[in-house]
Chain length 347, copies 2
C-alpha cells in the first residue's frame, strides 16, 4: 500500500482500541464537569472533517442525554465581534491539528463568556487544547494524509465515550472494541467489493450522499472525502431534506450513495431506496440488511451487528475506502489533493 | 411573464412592505415573551428553503442579541424518540405551508418539554401555527411556484423585525422599506444583466455558491434554487469551510457564485475572490464594490447601500433571478421541477 491515506485507513482498529483503553479517565472527568455545571445546551465549533464529527456529537448527545446541541458559526466571533452569552452552555472545539484559528478564537470567546469549554484534538499541546478548560485526545498518532480518516473515526469514538459516560454507561470501552472488530471486517470483507466497483464510477462527475439521523455525519464526511480525493462534486443530504427540493436532481443514472444501517432510521432509508429506484437513480447502497440491498444498482454488503450509535464509525470506514479506491481508479493521488494543505487556517 | 416563479419574485417589494406595516405588533409580543422567559438558547426546526431562513436567524440573533442558536434535527424526536430538555430555550419552527409533519412534531415536543415555541409561517391556520405558543406571519399571499421565493425573503424580514425588536430598535420597519426599495433596484437594474449572462451557463453541470457570515443563508438558498429549477448540482459553502477541503474542486473554468456585499465579511470575500482567480475558477460575483467586481469573470453589480444585516434579502433576490433566467436559458420550466410538489411531507 503506497498511499498514506490507505495506510491510515488501516490503522483505525488500532486507534479505536487505544482510545477505548486510554481515554476513559479523561472522559469521566469531563462528564462529571458537565454534570457539575448543569449544562443545558452544547455548541460545537469545527471545520471540515471535524464539522462532521460535530454533527455526530449533536445527534448522539441529543438522543442519549437529551441536551440540545447546535453547531457554532465562528464568524460570529471572528468577523462580527458578537458577544455571546454562553452561561450554562458547553462549548466543544474539534480539530485534529488544534490549529484552526477561528475555532481557537471561538473557544477563547466562549470561555470568557461563561461556557464550560472542551477540546477534542489529536494534539494535546495545540492552541485549541490550550484555549479550553479540558482536552480529550484522539490518540491517532500523526496523520500525514491530507484527507483525514483515522482522526475522524477517532473523534467519533471519543464523543461516544463521553456521551455514554455522561449517562453512566460503564461498558462503552468494550463497545468501542466491538466497533474496532467490525471495522476489521470492513477492511477484510468489504474492501474487495469496493475495489471491484470503483471502475464503474471512473467518470462520475457528481453524486449525492444520503443518510438519516446519526449517519448524517457519515454522508457528510464521505461527501467531503469524494470531493477532496476524487474531485467528484458530492453533496450530502438527510433523506428528509433531499425530498424537499434536491430530489429534482434525480434522473436515470444519477448516482446516489445511501448509508442505511439497521436501527431507528432504517424504515425511512428503505422508503428512500425505493423512491430512488423508481426515479431511475443509480444507488450505491451501504447496508447489512438483505432486503434493502436488493433495491440498489450497486449493493455494498456491510457487516451485521453494528450497534446503531456506533454504526457511523463502521460505515465511515467503508465510505473512506470507496473514496480511496475511486481516487486510485481515476489515476489520482489521494495523498496530494490539488490546492490543499494538511492544516487549513481560516479566520 | 408567463412563469409563476418570475411573478412571485416580482412581488417581493410589496410583501416586504406589508410585513413591515402589519407584523410589527406580533413581533413586539414575541420579543417581550423572549425577555420574560429569559431565553438563553434558540433552536430552529425547518426544512428546505425554510432551513436557509433558519441559518439567517442564527447569524442575526447571535450577532445582534448574543443568544446562541442552533439548527434542530427533527429526526431526534420523530425517529429516535429522544426527550430533549428545552427549559430556557426558544424553539422556532419555520415552514411557509406550516404543513411539514416533522417540524410540527418537533415543535409539539419542544412545547411539551419546556420550550417557548414560535412558528414563522405563511399560513396562520396551519398545523405548525397550532402547535406553537405564538405565530409570526409571512404575509406573502399564496405561493404557487414550487420554488419558494417571496416566502423566503418574507421569512427573513420577519426574523429581522424580531431580532431588532428584541434589542429595542424601533426603526426596523423603515429599514425593511429601504430593503424593499433596494429589491426594486435589483429588479430594474440587475435583472437585465442576469438575463444577459444566463446563456453562458447553459451547459454548466455543477458549481459552488460561496459567502461568509450572514449571507451564508443566501449561498445556501441560491444553491437550492439552482438545484430545483436548473438541475445544476450546486453546493453552498462558507468560504472558510470551502478552504478546508472543497477548494480541491477548483480547476480552470470551475464555476463559483460568490456573494460579497459590503460589511464585516467583505475582506474575507475579497481574499477568496483573489484565490479563486489564481486557481482559474470562473467566478460569478455579486457585489456592489468596484474593486472586488474586477476579480470576477462575470461581475454582477448590485445596488450599493444595503445595510449588512439586510443584504441577504437583497442578494437573495438577485440569486433567484439568476436561477430563474438560467432555467429559462436551459429551456426548463422553473414552475414544474421534476419529481417535486409544493408541499413536501417528511417524518
Amino acid at each position: 500500500m503506497a498511499h498514506l491515506m490507505r495506510a491510515e485507513i488501516g490503522e483505525q482498529p488500532e486507534v479505536l482500541r487505544r482510545i477505548a483503553d486510554e481515554e476513559q479517565r479523561a472522559v469521566q472527568t469531563v462528564a462529571q464537569q458537565i454534570r457539575d455545571h448543569a449544562i443545558r445546551a452544547v455548541f460545537l465549533a469545527a471545520r471540515g472533517t471535524s464539522d462532521n464529527a460535530a454533527a455526530y456529537f449533536k445527534y448522539l448527545f441529543e438522543i442519549q442525554n437529551g441536551i440540545p446541541c447546535g453547531l457554532a458559526a465562528p464568524s460570529i466571533v471572528t468577523m462580527y465581534r458578537a458577544h455571546l452569552n454562553l452561561h450554562g452552555a458547553l462549548v466543544v472545539g474539534i480539530s485534529q491539528s488544534g490549529q484552526a484559528p477561528d475555532v481557537v478564537e471561538y473557544l477563547a470567546h466562549a470561555r470568557a463568556n461563561g461556557a464550560l469549554t472542551v477540546s477534542i484534538t489529536n494534539d494535546p499541546e495545540s492552541p485549541l487544547a490550550n484555549a479550553s478548560h479540558f482536552t480529550l485526545q484522539i490518540r491517532a498518532g500523526a496523520e500525514r494524509s491530507v484527507a483525514a480518516t483515522k482522526t475522524y473515526t477517532g473523534a467519533l469514538a471519543v464523543i461516544y465515550l463521553l456521551s455514554e459516560a455522561l449517562r453512566g454507561q460503564p461498558d462503552a470501552p468494550q463497545r468501542i472494541h466491538h466497533a474496532a472488530a467490525l471495522v476489521e471486517q470492513v477492511l477484510q470483507q468489504t474492501e474487495p467489493r469496493l475495489q471491484e466497483i470503483a471502475d464503474r464510477y471512473r467518470y462520475m462527475r457528481e453524486c449525492v450522499a444520503l443518510a438519516r439521523g446519526v449517519n448524517q455525519a457519515t454522508a457528510q464526511e464521505i461527501a467531503l472525502k469524494l470531493i477532496e480525493t476524487c474531485y467528484v462534486m458530492c453533496k450530502a443530504y438527510s433523506v428528509a431534506d433531499f425530498m424537499h427540493g434536491p430530489f429534482a436532481l434525480i434522473e436515470p443514472g444519477f448516482p446516489c450513495l445511501l448509508f442505511a444501517p439497521d436501527g431507528a432510521t432504517f424504515a425511512t432509508a428503505l422508503e428512500s431506496a425505493s423512491k430512488l429506484r423508481t426515479g431511475g437513480a443509480e444507488t450505491i447502497l451501504f447496508a447489512s440488511d438483505a432486503e434493502i440491498l436488493k433495491l440498489a444498482r450497486t449493493p455494498v454488503p456491510m457487516p451485521a451487528g453494528a450497534p446503531e450509535m456506533l454504526s457511523p464509525i463502521v460505515y465511515a470506514v467503508a465510505g473512506q475506502l470507496f473514496a480511496y479506491h475511486l481516487a486510485v481508479a481515476r489515476d489520482l493521488n489521494p495523498d496530494q489533493p490539488r490546492g490543499l494543505q494538511k492544516v487549513t487556517k481560516t479566520l
